[in-house]
Amino acid sequence: MIAHFPILQVIIPLMAAPICLILKRPKLVWLFALIVSGLAFSISILLLQQVMTSGVISYELGGWQAPWGIEYRIDKLNAFVLLIITAISTIVLFAAQTSIEKEIPKNKHTYFYVLFLLSLTGMLGIVATGDAFNVFVFLEISSLSAYALIAIGKDKRALWASYQYLIMGTIGATFILIGIGLMYQMTGTLNMQDLSQRLPEVAQTRTVFTAFAFVIVGICLKLALFPLHLWLPNAYAYAPSIVTAFFAATATKVAIYLLIRFTFSVFGLSFSFTTIPLQTLFMALGLLGIFIASTSAIYQNNIKHLFAYSSIAQIGYMIVGFSLTTVAGLTATLLHLFNHALMKSGIFLALAAVMYRIGNVQLNSFYGLGKQMPLTMAAIVIGGLSLIGVPLTVGFISKWYLLVALLEQGWWPVAVLILLGSLIAVIYIWRIVEVAYFKEPLLNNKPVKEAPLYFLIPIWTLIIANIYFGIDTRLSVQVAEAAAMSLFEVTP
């Protein structure tokens, strides 16, 4: 049983999705999906434990040996990412039933869970697999269900956003497919481990350069790296809130994982960062992303839009850490992967609660909301503080590690820019705090009650995790550091 965990992780949600269609009754399906996601979560915990103690787990699908058959390969990096995805999906699903009541037409509730589980399967598959072509297949499973999930709501603008995402996403995925094809052409293998051994022999050919370029651009499209982020703000803002909470915390993280996996493990460190000036490129794009996206966030009146732009800025921080190509830099990126998932899902769930009570998330609906929905608003404020990077929150931890990593390399101008970027976050968080706590409610806004418990429990679980991992960083830092070290093949 334990030996089959790597595949069970992916298969359980995949099998559960069609079963949802048989169960039919939304309440029942919700409970079922929650259990399935919880099961995946517990498997990922066990996998992480196993990897931390006894090293890499390799699982051969159908008993076919590794370079020929498909291999699932769990190391510290993907065990960590699996844990993030399943944890967020479980917590988010808890609030799903209540949230979709108002945002998704009644007859589509069952389909929502089917799509949700399929999307989860796709993400878990991308992360768990050790086969390059398998990555593409799972990428499309998760993306196709994501497009449908975004469009399933009542807001008609979501349709247009979903269409744009579909066009961009498909181009991105096809780029990755081209890259994988070129790699196969040069090496005759699709197994990542095998690729990493065979690519150096042919590293100086134009075909491999082209493959690298296609894969990186394709992943960056999925990643919403500035300037390829155009699909993200509308898709996140108009999707049903619960979908936004799930995707904001997981979808781009999976893409970051892919970026790390392909540059570090498949193409190898020396190839990735010496043949193309990737370091400078990513550093510049990361910083530009931080500033431009944060500044755009200030001018948004739709709060979901605001936090969607802030997500793009946060991706900028991860990319800056990544571009350092040091253990410290990568640790910062991985930490932020975890921390950002905690804060963004917390904030977007709180916004889902606002959406549930008020019906929109325009800034002028937030007037005086601090008194009417104290717990929800407090959650947004703490999540916001975490985004800024105030001490005692997780945001501080990841910013701190990023700054240390930057100073270690002597890149203090970049460190200053990072701090300035955080100051912009203060402005957009303050806009919400100001109207929610220091303004009287508009007469036009109907008074509302606090959000139901189905929201408050998951929101506060995430917010308390935000504070807990901001104080007791042993777990997150230890795992992130170990994962970063294993990628550089440094023994601790």
Partner: protein, 161 residues
């Protein structure tokens, strides 16, 4: 060079045509057509990659020693299925967009989205609540009027064509 890599030239040309259509055309269906051409070029790329000169289909037989590589062909079967699913989803999204917006032209959809956004930002500007109510009602009325006018325009357009 030119003849030996004939397949690959076709792949590149198709790929560029496809991408150009996706970028340049405002009609949502045409965009999908471009996307499909783009994907098809990748299918051809995989298929020609696996062809071995003088090789036959990979079926064991006595007097044949050279076979083409079947693996990329199998891979691309998967990619074709994915491509079909994507196209189907995209088309169904277009159907829904047509239902909601009454158009499948990118510009007209954008302008409708902008209209609704303008309305919301105007609501934000006016702080006085009583005015806000009236203002928003007026705005709603104006937008619905504007939308009606637009729909009439489309219908007239259709007749002229």
């Amino acid at each position: 060079m030119l003849i030996g890599h004939f397949n690959y030239w076709i792949v590149v040309v198709l790929m560029m045509i496809g991408l150009y259509i996706v970028i340049a055309h405002g009609n949502l269906i045409k965009k999908i057509v471009g996307l499909v051409i783009f994907q098809t070029s990748v299918f051809i790329f995989y298929i020609s990659m696996a062809k071995v000169d003088g090789g036959t289909a990979p079926i064991l037989a006595d007097d044949i020693s050279q076979y083409s590589n079947p693996l990329p062909h199998v891979l691309i079967l998967t990619a074709i299925v994915v491509g079909i699913a994507t196209t189907a989803l995209a088309l169904s999204l277009v159907v829904r967009i047509k239902e909601e917006y009454g158009s499948i032209e990118e510009q007209k959809i954008q302008s409708q989205d902008n209209l609704s956004q303008d309305k919301l930002s105007q609501e934000n500007l006016s702080q006085d609540n009583k005015i806000l109510v009236n203002q928003s009602q007026i705005n709603q009325y104006q937008t619905s009027q504007a939308q009606e006018n637009q729909i009439q325009e489309y219908q007239q357009d259709g007749k002229h064509r």
